[in-house]
């Protein structure tokens, strides 16, 4: 291999490395933003639960209403599914006969507005967690790629 070829390969590797570093920074920014959003939606949901207790009284939301391992069995409405190395959320519709119960109805079949809004916040939070996982995986891939390329350039 001539010196020119070697130099142009190094340049190409350097440009690729630059582009990978740029992708890495974009992913870090997106991942951090995603985590901030998770924190924000979770806090919003938690304060709305406190608001429901404030409006309806202490009896409206208690641990007594949450099922235990001895309660009747039920199926989860929300599942994490992995397809083509990407994590996504799959939601099943409510179907009491098949055991797909609405968790909101554990607390009230006449839920107030604040409780319904809290449910929406927590559902959004789950989706953000899936998005954060995907971003984290992409970031790990990029970091591995950067590491391998730097080693091959160094050799």
């Amino acid at each position: 291999m001539t010196a020119d070829d070697s130099k142009s390969e190094k340049n190409a590797a350097g440009q690729l490395l630059d582009s990978m570093y740029l992708d890495m920074f974009y992913l870090i920014e997106a991942h951090t933003q995603c985590r901030v959003d998770i924190e924000r939606t979770n806090s919003s949901g938690a304060i709305l639960l406190a608001r429901t207790k404030f409006q309806q009284g202490g009896h409206s939301l208690t641990t007594a209403q949450i099922p235990t391992e001895n309660s009747a069995e039920f199926n989860a409405l929300c599942r994490v599914v992995e397809k083509a190395e990407r994590v996504s959320i799959e939601r099943h519709s409510v179907d009491k006969e098949s055991g797909y119960v609405e968790p909101l109805h554990w607390f009230s079949v006449l839920p107030p507005m604040s409780l319904r809004t809290a449910v929406e916040r927590f559902k959004k939070s789950i989706e953000l967690v899936a998005e954060s996982t995907n971003l984290q995986r992409e970031l790990a891939k990029i970091l591995n790629g950067i590491d391998r390329l730097r080693r091959s350039v160094a050799q």
Binding site: R51, Q55, G57, Q65, V109, M113, S114
Partner: protein, 351 residues
């Protein structure tokens, strides 16, 4: 005049005590200092300067649950003092105030037992004003027939259960619906009791209970809009002793959206103002319920403008509970580090 002399001879001292208790409710300056606290220990320290005094002095670490439990104990102390010194008809009246909490406790216990939670843990979650002798025995019942026939039949709640539905229906219906139906029966019975009292008590209490009934009807109608409830199911839950008449209740039970409920409720000027003054905030924190709580606080304080009636006792206990909820809300905001929402309590107007 005769009513005032007779009232004073039996309940004058207790009315004076209650007005004294009412003067001890937190003022705006107290709320200002509470909302500036940054930790729960700060909050406990600031509460010492109020009528509550050293509620948390013996506790190692403050938590929202401990606050809730200590504040409730204070209400129960004051209630028990009034109840022990009361004579008829005030004693029956004060008992009726407890029935609402009994209904909540029974519903909570049934819910917890259905989830196989231990009785001891469930009893600690009960409101102390709603304790009655047979409460613990609810855990012994192995099915709903036993619950009804052996236990609840001997409690003060039995008259509400037998009026509302047979014990076979008990099994099939959701706990929340059972609670709503019992509450409807209770509030209508309480209304009838107040109507039989002296004219001032009847006027004040029937006004307050009508408001409670209407508020219940409106919130149930709104909350059941996106549910499987049909017209008949909804009508069963709506109390009939409010200012909203049978036609309004029937229309509410058939409403399919928010605008319909609003249109029916707005026929009453007070409720129209409640619907019109809703501010939208980004977190949906302040809702219609909060507006109703503000109106309730105003009506409860207005009852103190008249003398020689039993409504002052009902109003005081309700206002005290609202004050406790305000303090718990402040404690929750501090505990969750969401201090920007700390001012969303319901201020109690002081006349």
């Amino acid at each position: 005049m005769a009513n005032s002399c007779n009232f004073n001879s039996t309940a004058g001292y207790l009315e004076g005590m209650t007005r004294g208790f009412k003067n001890g409710l937190l003022k705006q300056s107290d709320y200002l200092s509470l909302t500036q606290c940054e930790t729960l220990d700060d909050l406990a320290l600031n509460i010492q300067n109020t009528d509550y005094g050293h509620v948390l002095a013996s506790e190692q670490g403050a938590s929202v649950e401990i606050f809730e439990s200590r504040l409730r104990e204070r209400i129960v102390e004051q209630y028990n003092y009034l109840r022990v010194n009361a004579t008829e008809p005030m004693s029956t009246f004060l008992d009726y105030i407890r029935y609402e909490h009994m209904i909540d406790n029974v519903a909570m216990l049934i819910s917890g037992l259905n989830n196989h939670r231990p009785m001891k843990k469930l009893l600690s979650l009960c409101h102390p004003l709603g304790y009655f002798d047979q409460l613990e025995a609810i855990g012994v019942a192995s099915n709903t027939d036993e619950l009804f026939d052996a236990i609840l039949i001997d409690t003060p709640l039995s008259k509400f259960i037998s009026k509302s539905f047979g014990h076979r229906d008990f099994k099939r219906i959701d706990v929340e619906i059972v609670r709503s139906i019992l509450f409807k029966s209770y509030i209508e019975d309480f209304y009838k009791l107040c109507k039989r009292q002296d004219p001032t008590t009847a006027e004040v209490m029937c006004n307050l209970l009508s408001f409670q009934a209407d508020r219940r009807a409106i919130t149930i109608s709104l909350n059941s809009l996106h549910s499987e409830f049909n017209h008949d199911d909804r009508l069963l839950l709506l109390p009939t002793c409010g200012h909203l008449g049978p036609i309004a209740l029937d229309t509410l039970s058939q409403s399919v959206d928010y605008d319909q409920v609003r249109a029916v409720s707005s026929k009453n000027f007070e409720y129209a103002v409640v619907f019109d003054s809703i501010e939208r905030d980004t977190d949906n924190l302040i809702t219609l319920e909060d507006r109703f709580l503000m109106l309730e606080a105003k009506k409860l304080m207005q009852s103190y403008l008249q003398q020689f009636h039993l409504g002052v006792f009902y109003s005081y206990l309700k206002l005290k509970e609202l004050e406790c909820r305000n303090i718990i809300w402040i404690a929750e905001c501090i505990s969750q580090r969401q201090l920007d929402k700390i001012n969303a309590y319901i201020p109690i107007p002081m006349f």
